[in-house]
Symmetry: C2
Subunit: 216 residues, 2 copies
DNA sequence: TTTAACGTTTAGGATACCCTAAATATTAAA
DNA sequence: TTTAATATTTAGGGTATCCTAAACGTTAAA
């Protein structure tokens, strides 16, 4: 299907569209596309049976849509590994390039690329590459905003959006880091963590939704 | 610019649009797009200054258009090398895949890919990859249809169009083969060649236009 | 040189995506 | 529960790319 449609279902997937309704507003914000255009596209995605849509209520991915989204995300992550490991790109730059290449990658190229890369498990941002691993990763990890105060966790994945990557990097929060969630205060939207060497870091709960961790 | 426009200037380049006017008919046939659409697109390419167009007479690439076409062809050929050498694709299949990837490849990715591949000189079909080599290749090679009877030549390049590749492969004509042009008869559109082990091969002059050779 | 064949353009339309402005529905606050 | 804020949709447009049918130019054969 068209790159445009692929972008929409990818975003739906990333916003949890397998299990929850995703509002047009969220999609509109994420893709920086006007709300009316999103409404229009959702109706078009319903026609190809990738999405179930209830006006005013939002969209949910169908099984078909979910499969397709996963395939694109797999291609995206494979290119990220290639660009990072083989071509020597900076980790911050691979996302934008993969974003382009993913839409013109046949299944055949993806399979051969995966083999060439040695069947990597994760992309440079910690996202699972194998289709079934994507689900498992969802089951075993949670965002730091969902953690309970006092738990010790390892950062396993950062939602790969350029600005977020830059933000967490600047906060010295990287994949593989062990951190302890000291305090979560929803009243003031703040999470307090302790990282290596007892350094204290504070981030907002809303931004914490983009930082996935797993318990130790 | 858009993938569509890129396809048009690539075809103009391949049809000799740097030096001769290319008719809309030729473009229409090559891209399998209706003549009116080609007329329309040519006008649009004039607007971005990639093409000079005289109604009813045809198009010529501007310097700007030529540069752009070369960049895309370079990306195309780099991907072909990658797909063939690294991913193990069959030579017949690389063209179609490269056709897709070339449009979503940034200059940065192309440069790093070129370096990763060790700065290859030619794509698997014998096409030059470096921009200046592309011109040189034009100067030193000619199509077998332009050869004089009696000359001995080496096949250096086959225009990479799937059907043509298949055709020449079936005729046992491959890049690197030494052949002798025995006879060229324009009255019946036929070229007779002698290949290894004195095997005789006959092809039409029109198809010979897609087989580039260089003198020994 | 007149005409037939063929290439090209004009006219009129379709679809995919995108937009703004205005109307409408939903939800949260008063 | 009424209102105000916010999300969503409808209405009306715009551009890029494609198409067919019909009109028009060019060229080469008769």
């Amino acid at each position: 299907m068209s790159p445009t449609k692929e972008d929409y279902i990818k975003v739906l997937f990333e916003l949890g569209g397998r299990f929850n309704r995703v509002s047009n507003k969220e999609v509109s914000n994420r893709l920086d596309i006007s709300p009316p255009t999103v409404t229009e596209m959702m109706n078009s995605l319903v026609k190809v049976e990738w999405v179930e849509y209830t006006p005013y209520k939002g969209s949910i991915l169908t099984d078909k849509g979910t499969e397709y989204a996963k395939e694109i995300i797999r291609k995206h992550r494979l290119w990220e590994v290639f660009l990072f490991e083989k071509l020597g790109f900076d980790i911050e730059d691979v996302h934008a390039e993969a974003e382009l290449l993913e839409h013109t990658t046949s299944d055949d190229v993806a399979d051969k690329l995966e083999s060439y890369l040695g069947y990597p498990e994760y992309c440079p941002h910690g996202g699972a590459i194998k289709i079934d691993l994507m689900d498992m990763q969802e089951d075993y990890t949670f965002t730091i905003s969902e953690a309970k105060a006092g738990t010790e966790v390892v950062i396993s994945r950062i939602v790969d959006e350029e600005k977020l990557l830059k933000y967490f990097k600047n906060q010295h929060l990287n994949i593989g880091d062990r951190i302890t969630v000291t305090d979560i205060d929803s009243s003031i939207d703040l999470i307090t963590l302790t990282a290596e060497e007892d350094k204290e870091i504070q981030i907002s709960i809303s931004l914490g939704n983009y930082l996935f961790v797993e318990p130790i």
